[in-house]
Amino acid sequence: MSLHPADYLIIFLYFLFVVAVGFIIKKRIRSSNDFLSSNRSIPLWITSLAFISANLGAQEVLGMVASGAKYGIMTVHFYWVGAIFAMVFLGVYMMPFYYGSKARSVPEYLSLRFDEKTRALNAVTFAVMTVFSSGISLYALAKLLEVILGWNFDLCIWIAAGIVMVYTFLGGLTSAVYNEVLQFFLIVLGLSPLVIVALQDAGGWSAIQQQLQPELTHAWKYMGKAEENPMGIHFMSLIFGLGFVMSFGYWCTDFLVVQRAMIARDLNAARRTPIIAAIPKMLMPIIVVLPGVIAIALTQVASDAGDYRIPQDASGGLDYTMTLPSLIAHYYPSGLLGIGITALIASFMSGMAGNVTAFNAVFTYDIYQSYFVKNRSDTHYLWVGRWVTLVGILVSIGTAYIAASYNNINDFLQLVFSFVNGPLFATFLLGMFWKRTTSAGAFWGLLLGTVAAAITHGLTLAEGKGGWIAPMFPISSGMGQAFIVASFSWIANFFITLFVSLMTQPKPEAELRGLVYSLTEKVYGTETMWYKKVGPISVVLLVITILLNLLFF
């Protein structure tokens, strides 16, 4: 694939604008709170779009298109079973505690609700995960540009990291959030024409339904038996593993996304952030799942050399990861090609910047300020926040090179995510909704829940992965394995926290006000219009989500 000067101009314009946003925001940064938590001053429409854009990184865009091609329309479960319900739950039930407690981060909430050791455990694992995830995004971007455009791998790494560094170093979280909104529109508008032309080429949705095997075009119909659907899982495993544990674990406890709601101007806006974000999130499968389904349909009927096909990997199988770049290369002429490539770059940079800003907030607030240098001036913590951003970027570059030399690091990282996020939701669920949950219960539940995840992974084998203790339980897909690992880790955490809590002394109720549901005054908004109220809009969203599931049953 070669680019026209117009394509380079569009890429240059994008780089120019994201850096310019950093310079514009720099003037507003006067304190560590401005830099690390935007001083809770960001308008609702920006926090909402940044909320979903933080999850619109490399794994989301490339990964969901790849999953659409591999598993078919079942991939929408990540949205219509997973994300929407979890986002509504976060807005309605959990945000009052995150926002109302005045905690600046998720680990800080854990210190208020439980104790410092639970906070430290969460802060350290989260910081390590984010910096690795940021490096993976960087590696994937450089690799993609090297493969499809023939650009120099090292140059891509340093330029992309340099641009993210400039705008996050200058403007901190606000700069990252503003660019995430620009990146959101770029991804949506840049990839929408692709869906239209590819769908037209495939003969429309009806033709795709006729061409493809039925299990690839039905979301639920073939989930009664695990062996009848491409994911190889039963619908109960899907609902519990993905719909409950993994999705709620990610959307309700991962600071990377929760941080976007915590910077809203007031509690009502913070609660509405994930709910408003759920509206475009509900429609995202059109941009990131449908192209994959179209691609597999086109590949199956391709007869001519000029017809579209999903590229093959070295073993001769379909290289699903390259589905989206190959669609862009096939359908986009010069001009729009520059926009498509820029949209891909934007998704990687969005993922990286999101991780770096979450990392510097957690490191500065929950590690440096809490355990190393306390009670210094705000100017000192602002200075630390800026330099931690720089260090985070440099470590990301390091992890990008580690990823380049280790084929399975991305799989490993995804697994670590399921180890950490799965059990964490049990800690929050019990901590927020059961006042009897104790600090010892939370700590041991979290720690042993993570161990349970590792053991489950060691006993199950899917697509050659896992089974390092004994491959006793084969599972047909890696995704199914991730759901089962997350489910067991959640169950272990839940019951260990329950058991240890009953054996130990809880905190006095006076210390738990504003942190636990039953001890907190309920929030009733003063908004009069129904669409500005959290409750009615949540009900409408859930009804539409159920209808979408029925439509593609």
Binding site: A6, F17, I24, V181, L182, F185, L189, P333, S334, L336
Partner: protein, 61 residues
């Protein structure tokens, strides 16, 4: 509000970005054979409309 101050508004920045991108597509469509494809024309118009909309939307910042 002068033009420079409007660059403090995210909606305005996004609007200007998409108008410039649309201009690249539309001018390219008219002036070059490589970009003379109807998909560039339609996408350029779409982005131009979106850019103008974002500029005109009153930002609450």
């Amino acid at each position: 509000m002068n033009l420079f101050n409007r660059f403090n508004q995210l909606g305005f920045v996004i609007g200007v970005f998409f108008i410039l991108v649309a201009l690249v597509l539309l001018v390219g469509y008219i002036a070059t054979t490589a970009l003379h494809q109807s998909i560039n024309l339609y996408s350029g118009i779409l982005m131009l409309v979106f850019g103008i909309f974002m500029i005109r939307v009153k930002d609450e910042e």
